[in-house]
């Protein structure tokens, strides 16, 4: 495998989100806040959601982590903004499927940059990094 596969894992768009994360920070007003740990490395991520009438008005994240977990959080917060909570959960489900290496029908959803993370599926040890922020978002919406 070597560097071709690594290039798939660390695509430019992922590195861009890692270096210039979107939606990093927290809200001044009260928001849904979920803490999530990646127990394998101790990385901790915090997702903040503003949900009104079942619509994700805004989403932000804080925390530390590797390039995969932080870029995934950055993309996730971007993608779910303005979506209904059900749409957000559907996206999360689609993302989990993508991480399992399964084909996902993304016609009805705008995954945007997220598809850049497809390469993670080839690195089983890193899947948890990618899904961390999504799991946190799911937990928040389920609250």
């Amino acid at each position: 495998m070597s560097f071709d596969n690594l290039d798939t894992l660390y695509r430019q768009v992922i590195m861009d989100h890692y270096k210039n994360p979107r939606n990093r920070g927290s809200f001044d007003q009260e928001s849904l806040t979920i803490d999530m740990n990646n127990p394998t490395c101790g990385d901790r991520i915090q997702i903040h959601l503003l949900v009104e009438d079942d619509i994700v008005k805004d989403a932000k994240f804080e925390g530390e982590g590797c390039s995969i977990s932080l870029s995934s959080a950055s993309m996730m917060t971007q993608a779910i903004k303005g979506k209904t909570t059900q749409e957000a959960l559907n996206m999360s489900k689609a993302f989990s499927e993508m991480m399992l290496g399964n084909d996902v029908d993304t016609e009805d959803m705008d995954l945007g940059d997220i598809e850049a993370l497809q390469g993670v599926a080839k690195f089983p040890a890193r899947i948890k990094c990618a899904t961390l922020s999504w799991k946190a978002m799911e937990k928040g919406i389920d609250k």
């Binding site: 495998m1 070597s2 596969n5 590195m15 490395c41 101790g42 982590g65 590797c66 995969i68």
Partner: protein, 406 residues
């Protein structure tokens, strides 16, 4: 020491990972196993499998002889006075928990102190947190120097006559620090405390003499010393073990059982409730035979050469942070500046080089180092300078790779 001959006894090392020959630098997590250990477990199951300490049939005697023979091998290896002082456990964690439950919970009360260091593995912190909660005792930590060592002045300062237990690792799994156990044991004893030593990272790599160290308890795992997983040892001084109650009750550990009360077997069996880890113990015995044929002092010397060479080479890389003291056991914990250790480890893996990335079950120490995670390369008797060159060159590539994409 003929490393090439040693390597040939480890079948797992002879394979390619991602198109490159495997360089295994994660022995501090678990060591690889030589053919003799795998064969010992195999032949036990194929020829001698039976339960121990019961029955009169031939297989039963063979299994018992092998199991108790392994205990004698452990005794000789750690220089314990008697096999009564060698208790088989599931691993280091279970061994330390046994002391915490059986000694800690029964002997400590409010006002008593348990003294630890911030460099402990979770398995030598959490059991003592639980003892403190149950008994009302307090936890105290010996401060670390900036290079991750402790000074005897600080040890003397922290241990008082209120201290009942000192729990300390022999070798740090993150920093590679080698602690002065004998001296700390003396200070503990002068204050009327006992010392519990986590030997998991020491016993695979150096000669250990529990009587010379004068430690009260010494815990270690088989799987880090070429043995199988699921077997470990609690060494304890007989006088202490005799006063202690078992923590697991049931078959194997009893003397007489009545409807309303029972009595226990003598040492060491009163601490080995249930059918013991027979194959595991036999595998551990084979691992000790293997290590003895090479010689622990030779292993230490080889690893010192490796770690010295690796430290020299790593220092030539710009933008690398190395944690721990100059004088260290055979492991190096590090971070590439601006690269998360997970990302470093993934790039190394793509080059066939296996290192650990994460918090190494030492979250308080990570906090002390002010990092969330680190990468770690750890060495053993089968590693070579070639392995280290591959490690260094893949680190260079990781740096280039992440330098390019940023």
């Amino acid at each position: 020491m003929d490393v090439k001959a040693i390597r040939s006894q480890f079948p797992i090392l002879n394979q390619e990972i991602n198109g490159r020959s495997l360089v295994y630098l994660d022995s501090a997590a678990t060591s690889q196993k030589p053919s003799s250990v795998i064969e010992a477990i195999n032949s036990y199951y194929q020829l001698n499998n039976s339960n121990v300490h019961r029955g009169v049939h031939t297989l039963g005697s063979r299994a018992t002889d092998q199991y108790e023979g392994a205990r004698e091998k452990v005794r000789a290896f750690i220089h314990a006075r008697s096999t009564e002082e060698v208790i088989f456990t599931r691993g280091t964690t279970t061994a330390i928990n046994t002391v915490a439950y059986s000694f800690g919970n029964r002997n400590l009360s409010p006002g008593d102190e348990i003294v630890l260091t911030p460099m402990e593995h979770h398995s030598n912190i959490i059991p003592w947190q639980q003892v403190a909660k149950v008994t009302g005792a307090t936890l105290k930590y010996i401060p670390l120097q900036s290079d991750g060592t402790v000074t005897l002045e600080d040890v003397k300062e922290t241990i008082t006559t209120n201290t009942k237990i000192v729990a300390m690792t022999h070798v740090s799994n993150v920093l590679g620090t080698i602690n002065p156990i004998k001296e700390v044991a003396d200070i503990a004893h002068e204050n009327g405390a006992i010392i519990v030593v986590d030997g998991a990272q020491a016993i695979p790599h150096m000669a250990v003499d529990v009587q010379a160290l004068n430690c009260d308890f010494y815990a270690f795992s088989g799987h880090k010393m070429c043995g199988p997983t699921g077997i470990g040892v609690l060494y304890g001084k007989k006088a202490l073990l005799e006063e202690m109650e078992p923590v697991e009750f049931g078959g194997e550990m009893i003397d007489f059982v009545d409807l309303y009360d029972s009595t226990w077997k003598e040492l060491p069996w009163k601490f080995e409730g249930g059918t013991p880890i027979i194959a595991g113990a036999i595998g551990l015995g084979a691992a000790i035979d293997f290590l003895n044929t090479i010689g622990m002092d030779n292993i230490t010397k080889h690893e010192t050469e490796l770690v010295t060479y690796a430290m020299q080479q790593l220092k030539t890389i710009n933008g690398i942070e190395i944690y721990g003291p100059e004088n260290r056991a055979g492991l190096i914990t590090f971070n590439l500046v601006d690269v998360h250790p997970h990302d470093t480890a993934t790039v190394l893996d793509a080059e066939g080089v296996a290192v650990r990335a994460g918090h190494h079950c030492a979250q308080p120490l990570m906090k002390w180092l002010d990092v969330t995670a680190t990468a770690r390369a750890s060495f053993y008797l089968y590693n070579t300078k070639d392995d280290l060159d591959r490690f260094i060159s893949s680190l260079q590539r990781a740096k280039e790779f992440f330098g390019d994409v940023f």
